[in-house]
């Protein structure tokens, strides 16, 4: 009976794609505003559905006989972040895609392709969180690569095709290593359960009796794939290219939602790992991997000249910080890691939304093309500044709280490492400052640029994310705290 919820999650997206495929060249359905309205309703419907399930049902809820799908507090929280970002992005897309069409940057017969992929990506992302089985999780993770690659290539420039192929090849190749990890894990589970199981909940239960070394190999294999999906160094090379080439609305989703899925996998995996005999070794592995992923972007950021690439590199750094926090795996740090995901997703959505407006105005992502920004695009300028301040972890913003607590956790573990990470984060903050100063102090060469009339639909997502960030920085709702505490207990930290 409860399986109906699964249908409700998947049906609207699939239905739309079927209609689009079979309707041929129907004018009404090919109209971007019609498709956009559907997308907005779709994402808000899924947001409402998630909230309804979280509020009404006794969690965790298992679906289907083999418990292939389940929703527990962690999955619910992740889906909530994903649907919120998606809902904002669909609103933003209304004006943004319209403008791309007007300028001829998307061909009008590709509108269906864009919105079709967009509306399928949402349920795919939700199902990757709902999947209780690692193999299913793997499949949805692969599908998310596929459909986001499709969304990148929608702008038919040669660079977009290259970026998209780079993304597909790096992510899929790494994911094949993950699959080897899954097979090893399955073989290991057969030592404990006769049938063998790949369900997250079953694995969590039998974790203490899994063979240590073999689990370590499986863990590292799985980490390669999940890490590549989250853009961790050394598998990060696809990320800056893909984020900067994609239309800004897609960049916001890539950075705010898709990167989260890989980290979600690592959190679940680590919950199993801490119960095994080689927990200490894996802890060191994760901490080192995290610090490397902070180190590389910290040194890359300072020389960037492309706004979207700059924001993308900052995403790598944040993923590194998250993995570092997961590695520390104390209940307090995990709590703040989860909170950090929310703060990061909102900040990145804000930054990419603003970068999108800048690109519309100046038709370039380069900082030196930006002239007279405060006069031409006051909202986007302030949004960019606010987002940057938020991302580097300034007090009164949510990322400050989470960074502070993750670093406190690191201080308990090792002082020298804390100083290294602090130095790197300082470098990141300095690069942000340097970039912002450069972008807003370009000489106005007296060429009268026509201001780009930002549609209301592009303004509101920026205003909403900015307000949400400001509120979350000073006020933690009780519901959120209870939920995050619940997740930490569920995972057994």
């Amino acid at each position: 009976m409860t399986d109906i919820a699964l249908l409700a999650f998947s049906v609207p997206g699939i239905l739309l794609v079927l209609i689009l495929v079979f309707s041929g060249r129907n004018r009404f359905l090919g109209n971007d505003l019609v498709l956009n309205t559907f997308s907005i309703i779709h994402s808000f419907f899924l947001l409402g559905l998630t909230i309804a399930i979280l509020v009404s049902a006794e969690l965790p809820v298992y679906y289907m006989n083999g418990r292939y799908f389940a929703i527990d507090r962690l999955a619910g929280y992740e889906i909530l972040i994903a649907t919120v970002i998606f809902s904002l992005a669909t609103i933003y897309a209304r004006g943004y895609v319209r403008n791309l069409l007007d300028k001829g940057e998307i061909e009008s017969n590709n509108t269906r392709l864009f919105y079709g992929a967009f509306n399928l990506l949402l349920p795919i992302i939700m199902f990757s969180f709902l999947a209780n089985n690692i193999a299913l999780f793997w499949i949805f993770l692969e599908l998310s690569t596929l459909f986001s690659a499709l969304l990148i290539v929608i702008l038919k420039a040669k660079e977009n095709i290259i970026a998209s192929l780079k993304y597909i090849f790096i992510a899929s190749t790494a994911m094949l290593f993950s699959f080897i990890g899954i097979i090893i894990l399955f073989a290991l589970s057969r030592d404990v359960i006769t049938e063998g199981s790949l369900n997250w909940d079953a694995l969590l239960e039998i974790a203490p009796s899994l063979s240590g070394t073999a689990f370590g190999v499986a863990f590292i294999m799985l980490f390669i794939g999940f890490g590549a999906k989250s853009g961790l160094v050394p598998f990060h090379t696809w990320l800056p290219t893909a984020h900067s080439r994609a239309p800004s609305v897609v960049s916001a989703i890539l950075s705010g939602v898709i990167l989260n899925i890989g980290i979600y996998g690592i959190i679940r995996l680590n919950a199993i790992a801490i119960q095994t005999t080689i927990a200490d070794n894996l802890k060191i592995f994760l901490i080192v991997a995290g610090i490397i992923s902070i180190l590389v972007p910290a040194f890359c950021l300072i020389t960037r000249t492309n706004t979207k690439k700059f924001i993308a590199f900052s995403s790598i750094e944040h993923m590194g910080l998250l993995v570092l926090g997961i590695g520390l795996s104390s209940p307090l740090v995990i709590f703040w890691v989860l909170f950090h995901k929310l703060g990061h997703s909102l900040s990145k959505a804000l930054l990419f939304f603003c970068a999108g407006i800048f690109h519309r105005q100046y038709e370039s992502n380069k900082y030196f093309q930006v002239k007279n920004a405060f006069k031409l695009q006051p909202l986007a300028s302030w949004g960019l500044i606010l987002g940057s301040i938020s991302v580097i972890g300034t007090p009164l913003f949510p990322i400050f709280l989470s960074k502070l607590n993750i670093l406190t956790g690191l201080a308990d573990y090792s002082m020298p490492l804390l100083f290294i990470v602090l130095f790197l984060l300082f470098l990141v903050a300095a690069s942000f400052g340097y970039y912002m100063v450069r972008i807003f102090s370009q000489k106005d060469d007296m060429v009268q640029l026509k201001p780009y009339q930002t549609p209301q639909s592009m303004r509101w997502p920026i205003i909403i994310t900015a307000i949400a960030l400001l509120i979350l920085g000073v006020y933690l709702p009780d519901g959120l705290v209870t939920m995050l505490n619940g997740i930490v207990t569920d995972l057994g930290y």
Binding site: L146, K156, K158, I161, I162, I183, T213, N306, N365
Partner: protein, 225 residues
């Protein structure tokens, strides 16, 4: 039920064939031959599954064999051949980083490394030495496929590298632990979608057709670093 010794012999012969096809994929320059070699490799994979099915009688193995036969020996090579008709290139001559002969040497070394690694940590996970060998060949095949992705220039050759990697994973799962059949089906569907998408995209990159490039360059404003 075949005699275990004969089974061992057949399997080992098939392992040699698999490694042979992988070596050919690393060195072969003609795209048509690459597709054919891949089809043969998948055929050997299907034969392996059938041999295992005759020995152990798990119905799952039979389905895997049929699925491999239908999709990987027939459909994917056919699709790639069709795609090739529309691209004016027939050969992939360039090798980055690694020359074909050094790739072969590196793969030989890799097989040994994987073998020692597996015998030391995961000996207990496999039923016997034959299965261990199967696992080793599978993982080696994954690495050899990865080398193709690294060292080849054309996207279409990279696709063959990816497919080889996927065959390696299938081999590994045959000898370590078969997944539930539904998962295998979903993986093949996923594989198909990736291949189709990347082949279509490859066509944009690999093709040197004037017409296509003109279409791309129209949106010149996106071309910046």
């Amino acid at each position: 039920m075949i005699d275990t010794i004969i089974l061992n012999d057949i399997m080992q012969a098939l392992f040699v064939f698999i490694l042979g096809t992988a070596a050919l994929i690393i060195t072969q320059r003609s795209l048509v031959s690459l597709f054919n070699i891949y089809a043969i490799q998948s055929l050997i994979m299907a034969i392996m599954a059938i041999v295992l099915f005759i020995e152990y009688g798990t119905l799952n193995l039979m389905f895997i064999a049929l699925l491999t036969l239908a999709v990987k020996t027939l459909f994917i090579p056919f699709f790639l051949h069709r795609a090739l008709l529309r691209i004016p290139i027939k050969r992939d001559l360039q090798f980055n980083f690694l020359s074909p002969s050094s790739s072969i040497v590196i793969s030989a070394v890799l097989i040994f490394i994987v073998y020692f690694f597996f015998t030391s940590f995961a000996g207990t996970l496999f039923e016997d030495r034959l299965f261990l060998l199967g696992g080793v060949i599978g993982v080696s095949l994954v690495f050899m496929g990865m080398m193709v992705i690294f060292s080849r220039k054309r996207v279409i050759t990279k696709i063959i590298g990816y497919l080889t990697m996927e065959n390696g994973v299938l081999l590994f799962s045959l000898f370590m632990a078969e997944m539930p059949f539904i998962i295998e089906v979903l993986i093949v569907v996923d594989l198909l979608m990736i291949i189709v998408l990347s082949a279509v995209l490859a066509f944009g990159i690999d093709s040197s057709l004037e017409e296509f490039h003109k279409k791309l360059n129209r949106f010149g404003i996106w071309i910046e670093d």
